[in-house]
Each structure stands twice: as C-alpha cells, then as structure tokens.
C-alpha cells in the first residue's frame, strides 16, 4: 500500500508537470502579454522596457518556463536559525541529492510506460527506488531542505503570489467547507430516507428534484438564489436577510467583539447572512448527487443477503437500518465525497465570481483577464495538486473502509 501511494504521488507530480507546461505554453502562444494595457500610454515606454527586462518577457518561452519552474520548485537549504524564511542561492549537497532522487522517481514513472510490470528486475528496481525516495524524504525533513516555493510576484502589482493565494484559500475553504457540510448533512439523510421509503411519494419527488438539480448549471442556481432570496425577499419583507456580494459588511469591525477575542453574535450573524447563499449554490448540485448515490447504494445493501439474515434474526428495524445497512452503504459515498471536493473547488470559481467572494476562484478570473501568468500557473497547480491529493485520499479511504479492496 505504501508503494502504491508513492507511485500515485509520482504520477501526480508528472501530471502537474505536464499541466504546468501546457498552461504555460497556451498563455505564451496566445500573444497577449501582461503589459498590453500599459502600451496604450506612450509615456509608459520606459516602464514597459524595464518590466519586460525584470520579468524576463523578452526571453524565448522555454527559457521563461525554466526560470519559472526553477523558482517554483527549487529545493534550498535553510539554516535552522532562519526558520522557514526562504531565500535564494546556495545549493548544498543535500539539495542536489534531493533533486536527483526526485528525477529518479520521475524516471521510475516514465519507465512504467515501457516496462512489463511482471519482470523480475523491475520489482527489484521498484523496491529500491521506493527505498531511495523514502530515505531522501527523511533526509529532506531532517536537514530542513525546503522547496523554495517562490511563486513569483503578481504581474498586477499586488504582491507575492504565494501571499495572495494563501489569503484567498482561507476564504475559499470557508465557503467550500460550509457547502460540503450542508451537502452532506442534507444529502445523505435524504438518500437514506428515500431508500427506506422506496417508491413513496416523497421518494419519487426527491428523485425528480435531485435529477433536475443535477442538470442545472451552478451559475443558474447562484443567480436565481441572488434574485429570489436576496433581492425579492428584501423587496417583499423590507428586511435585508441575505447579502449578494462580499464576505462581511463594510461595518463589520464596529459590530463589537465577543469574549476571548471571538467574533460577537452580531458579527457571526453578519457572516451567516453573507455565507448562506453562495454556500447553498455550491452545495445544491453535490447534495443532489449525494442523495441519489446514497439512495442507490442503500438500496443495494438493503437487498443483500446478510440484511435478510439480520431481519430473520428478528433485530429491530432501527438496528438493521443504522448498524447493518447504513454503515456499509456509506463506504462508496466516502470516495465520492473525496473526489467531489476537487469539483467543488471548480464550482467555487463560478460561485465566487457571481457572489463577489474574495477567494481563489475570483483571484483566478482576475489573473486570467490580466494575463498575470505567475498567478494563473500557481492557482492551476494548486487546484491540480488538490485533485491529485484528493484522488489518493479517496483510494486510501476506500481500502481502509472496505477490507476487500486490494492495491497493486
């Protein structure tokens, strides 16, 4: 299983490499440059020349790519007294070993393209390379070699890309986790209830509604929520219940402080007023998916032999449903949820731009419009890494929950 995870991680890294290369080439070949809007002003000529020089925009695209790549993932030694403060230059022996190990791992992945897995020497090599990667990983951690993670400066003049993304990621997680909680807490019980009362009116209705929701694009849900639950509700009741944009009101700080530096009740209420609609719009489609999936998997379990045995033993219905059926019917949905988190991040791009939520998605849209490629690359790779990691976690969880699953 350890070998399996390592292999998946290596494939993930190769995927991210390919992703970064493709995206970089696309941006380069599109002809737009981040300085296009400055060109409108003739007095900007020296500034443009300076920025072109500074950002290396006059170099050929592959050179630009390697500069970017070097800054993005170059491992460097960090003296203990500097902590995690990252600086350039000075590559120690350990870094070179780490780089060599990295390329050995990549070579391992590429070799799998051409080698029959059954070969004997291949097994030896596999065991050996996993051992090497493990030792190197230990060494890196021990010796405080860190990856530079210098994601560059934003071309829009708003600071380091890393800081921007780190700040925005918190906001996106606030939105995404709320949405996930809503989807799980409503979707799964809904599916279970539908399965228990199969072909009842409620079941038919639920199936129909979730089918329709599933076929509805996320932006239509978002826009409709804004129109109905924010604008129209305010028009009818005269009370502002939900806000359509932003994370907090402008007077958020004046709403008072709660105990121990926690937000006050008024502040919490304000946050909920802002958070509800975007969270629902992300959650709705996942919720429909979960309830359909949960219903199907619950029905499959309910028709299984061991459940009939449980019934025949005379166990109470509640015990049968909760202890025997539900626990087994939850296994597939764990995988679904892990994979869905990546989709939710994608959905968050649309929702954030509708609701003006200052998260990664809106950062991304802004960067795309300004051809700000350090930010574009960083966001794409961060989301890509999220997809890779969530895929691996889904596989691991599946194996942990269902002992019949074997890795090869």
């Amino acid at each position: 299983m350890f070998a399996y995870i390592i292999r998946r991680l290596v494939y993930g890294i190769v995927t991210l490499f390919a992703l970064s290369l493709v995206v970089f080439m696309l941006i380069q070949f599109s002809g737009g440059t981040p300085l296009d809007r400055l060109k409108l002003n003739p007095r900007m000529q020296p500034v443009i020349a300076q920025l072109t020089e500074q950002w290396g925009l006059d170099k050929p695209w592959y050179e630009q790519y390697f500069i970017w790549l070097k800054n993005f993932v170059w491992p460097i030694d960090v003296p203990a007294e500097e902590g995690l403060t990252v600086y350039f230059g000075k590559l120690g022996v350990r870094s070179w070993v780490a780089i060599a190990a990295f390329f050995a791992a990549v070579g391992y992945a590429i070799a799998t393209f051409f080698v029959k897995i059954e070969a004997n020497w291949w097994r030896t090599y596999r065991a050996f390379s996993i051992l090497v990667v493990g030792v190197i990983a230990f060494w890196i951690i021990k010796s405080r070699v860190v990856f530079a993670l210098n994601w560059g400066e934003s071309f829009r003049g708003d600071g380091a890309v890393w800081d921007n993304i780190f700040g925005a990621a918190g906001n996106t997680f606030r939105l995404g986790l709320t949405a996930l909680a809503i989807a799980l807490l409503i979707g799964i019980p809904l599916g279970v209830y539908q399965a228990i009362r199969q072909y009842s009116f409620f079941d038919q209705l639920g199936t129909m509604v979730s089918f329709i929701t599933f076929s509805t694009p996320i932006f239509i849900i978002g826009v409709m929520l804004q129109l109905i639950l924010a604008y129209q509700l305010e028009r009818w009741t005269g009370v502002k219940v939900f806000y359509v944009a932003g994370m907090t009101s402008s007077g958020y700080a004046e709403l008072g402080r709660g105990l121990f530096g926690l937000p006050s009740l008024a502040q919490l209420g304000d946050v909920v007023q802002h958070l509800t609609l975007p969270a629902i719009s992300i959650a709705a489609i996942s919720m429909a998916g979960y309830s359909r999936f949960q219903r199907a998997s619950m029905l499959e379990v309910m028709h299984s032999d061991y459940l009939r045995t449980a019934k025949a033993k005379g166990l109470p219905r509640r015990t049968i449903i909760i202890k025997h059926a539900l626990r087994n019917a939850m296994i597939p949905i764990v995988t679904l949820v892990s994979l869905d988190i990546a989709t939710m991040i994608g959905g968050a791009i649309i929702t954030e731009s509708i609701f003006g939520w200052p998260g990664v998605g809106r950062l991304y849209i802004g960067a795309i419009n300004a051809v700000d490629y350090p930010t574009i690359m960083a966001v794409v790779l961060a989301i890509g890494a999220g997809v890779v990691v969530m895929n691996i976690i889904a596989d691991i969880l599946y194996g942990v929950l269902d002992p019949r699953v074997r890795y090869d």
Binding site: G32, F113, I220, I350, I376
Partner: protein
C-alpha cells in the same frame, strides 16, 4: 408499478400471432426504452430542440425587423437544400415511427439517425457565423424607437433584451452552440475513449500501461480551470484555423479533448472482462485475427456502457460550455449562447427584466435534463442484466 418484463410482452405478442417477425435484441431494447416514458419524451424533445436550432434561419430572420417577413431570408443554396432534405426526411420518419409506435427496429434506428443528423447539420450551420449577424440588430417600432427591455407580449413572445434584440431569436440561435458542443464532444469522446480504452484493454503490457497512464494524466487535470485558460486564449492562438477561434467549435473540440478519460477507463474494464470470455476464445480458435475479434466480437458487447457514458459526458460538457460563456471565456458576444444570455440576463433581471434570464436558463436546463433522461433510459434499456426493480 407492477408491469410485466418487456420481454414477456413481446413473447406474448408473438405467441398471439400479432407479430410474425422474430424478436431480436434490438426489439427488446426498443421496447425497454419505450417503457421509460421520460426517456422517450426526452428523445422527442431533443429532436425538437435540434430541429428548431437547425432551422433557426427559417424561424427567425436575417434582420429582426423582418420577423414579419418584410425581407427575403438569405441562406446559402447548400444550406437550403440540406435543410429541405432533412426536413422532409424528418417528417417522413416521424410519421412512420408514430404509426408503428416505435415498434419496428427500422424506425427506431431512423429516430436516432434523425437526431444525429440534426445535431450534425445544426452545428454545421455554425460555420456560417459571419453571415448570421442579425441578432446584433435591434428592433425598432413603427416610430423608429428601439424597443429595449420589452416584456413578453403577442408579437414578441419572449420579449427583448437590454439592447432591443428579440429574445426568442436569440434563444433559438443560442441552441446551436449547445448542440455543437453536444455533437462534437459526443463524437470525440466516443471515438477517443473507445479507441484508447479498447487498445488498453485488449493489449496488456506496454500498450495498456502507457495508454492508461496517459488517461490518468488527463483525468488528473482540473477541468474547469484548464477550460477557462484555454477558452480565454482560444481566439488569440496563432496556429488555429479561424473557424476554431470563434463560435462554439473551438470550445467544443477543447472539451471533447479534455473529458474522454472516464469513458476510456470504462471501455478498458469491459474489454478486460470480455477478453477472457469463451466466445472470444472460440473466435480465436477459429482463426480470427485481432481486428476481427475487437470489432466483431468484443466491441458490440461493450457498446452499451459506451453509449450511456457518452450521453452523460455530453450533458456535463454542455453545462461547462454554458458556464464558460457565462464567465465570458466561452463563445464571445454578440454570438448568442444560452450561457452568455444567462449572464447578460442576470444583469438586467435585478431591475425586474426577468425574461432573458429565465428563458435562456429554461432552455439550457431542459436540454441538459433531456440528455440526462436519455442516458437514464438508454442505461435501463441497453443493460438487460440490470433488472429495473420498479415494483
């Protein structure tokens, strides 16, 4: 719902001498599909949508003020001929399938054929984009004022938008983008997914490993962010031919290239299990070569998951295209798309002009819904082992 299995019905019919023809797998499939009422309705709905989108120049006008036909409709001669032929064929086949109640295999095949041909032609019409610019024209009233944000009424059934353009025309033309995406993504996914999946499933070892690693790579891409980047740079890419840069074609090809991974995995799994079956062994013993085994023995048995998965992927792709257009990275205005109309409609819906948003969203949702119902019905009909437990 207590109903007899579909096969019983046919067997009974045959026993009573109503149907003298032998019952084929295809008959069973059609009967099962017809049993799924929503899917049947969805089929006809899709045919309708495709028909309307295809015939868009007939229903709407080259200039909006000739909605009442003051100017002749301008179409290329070829478009006219093809449209007339397809229209005649559609009517004839619709008549036949209605009469036989979709019983005969021929008419069912015809119905599927019509839908695909309509898909093909309607999206082909998109190539005419430079000529179809009437949706940029505004609709003046008798005194020459531009009719902006007119609510739905008799002469303007769906109203006008904030630039005074007829919403009905734009909804009809907007369907072309979605259908082009449906067609291109459907065929690309079916082609790439089947080829990659069957090669990987049939030839173990190097071929399997390298193809599946590549598939994993494609599946690992974050779909929406990548699609946004490509959609953003698509009109500016230097090496692309013009027709891929504007309109829905480029977006459609892009989505098709991105989303075939799941189908390839499914096809590979099918091939892996079918490869070991006795009938394949028998074929091999009889001296069949690889090509014959793949095309004549394995592929026909793997066709149902291919169709079902392709249908589902098409639904997703149409949603993604709409989302791209909504965000402004898909088909660019003034070319109408349902996603783009939802975007501009949302901006004016705040002021109470709800119609553009509601009608474009309605068209989009109902189309995706119909495709998903079709997928549902096809799954039930094509997979005899999966008994529909609707008791």
């Amino acid at each position: 719902m207590t109903e007899r299995p579909a096969s019983d019905e046919l067997v009974l019919d045959a026993a009573e001498g109503i149907s003298a023809e032998p019952i084929t797998q295809w008959d069973l499939f059609v009967t099962r599909l017809r049993r799924h009422r929503l899917a049947t309705i969805a089929f006809f709905y899709m045919a309708f949508i495709a028909y309307v989108a295809l015939m868009a120049p007939l229903f709407t006008c080259e200039k909006n003020d000739m909605f009442c036909g003051r100017q002749p409709i301008q179409m290329s001669a070829l478009t006219t001929v093809i449209m007339l032929v397809v229209a005649a064929g559609t009517l004839y086949l619709a008549y036949r399938s209605l009469r036989s109640g979709l019983r005969g295999a021929g008419s069912a095949l015809g119905a599927v054929g019509i839908v695909s041909v309509l898909f093909l032609i309607s999206s082909w019409g998109l190539l005419d984009i430079p000529h179809i610019n009437h949706y940029a024209d505004q609709l003046p009233d008798d005194s020459g004022r531009i009719l902006v944000n007119i609510a739905p009424r008799g002469s303007l059934p769906l109203g006008t938008d904030d630039l005074g353009r007829d919403v009905l025309s734009r909804v009809i033309h907007g369907g072309r983008a979605s259908l082009a995406v449906g067609l291109v993504v459907g065929s690309l996914v079916a082609l790439l997914g089947t080829v990659v999946g069957s090669l990987a499933g049939y030839y173990p070892g190097v071929v399997d490993q390298s193809l599946m690693r590549f598939t994993d790579l494609m599946l690992g891409l974050p779909l929406l962010p990548v699609a946004i980047v490509v959609g953003r740079v698509l009109p500016e890419l230097r090496f692309l031919p013009d027709f891929l840069k504007q309109g829905a074609w480029g977006i459609a090809v892009l989505l098709g290239v991105l989303v075939w991974g799941s189908l390839a995995r499914i096809v590979r799994a099918e091939f892996l299990s079918l490869r070991e079956k006795e009938f394949v062994e028998a074929a091999r013993a009889a001296g069949a070569n690889d090509r014959r085994i793949i095309f004549r023995h394995i592929l026909p048995n793997a066709i149902s998951p291919i169709i079902v998965q392709t249908t589902l992927v098409v639904g997703t792709a149409i949603i993604i295209e709409a989302a791209l257009s909504f965000l402004g990275f898909g088909v660019r205005p003034p070319i109408p798309t349902w996603g783009g109309m939802a975007s501009s409609g949302a901006a004016i819906a705040v002021r109470g002009f709800w119609w553009e948003l509601v009608f474009s969203a309605g068209a989009l949702i109902s189309t995706v819904l119909a495709i998903n119902f079709m997928g549902d019905g096809l799954r039930d009909a094509l997979d005899p082992t999966q008994t529909i437990e609707r008791k």
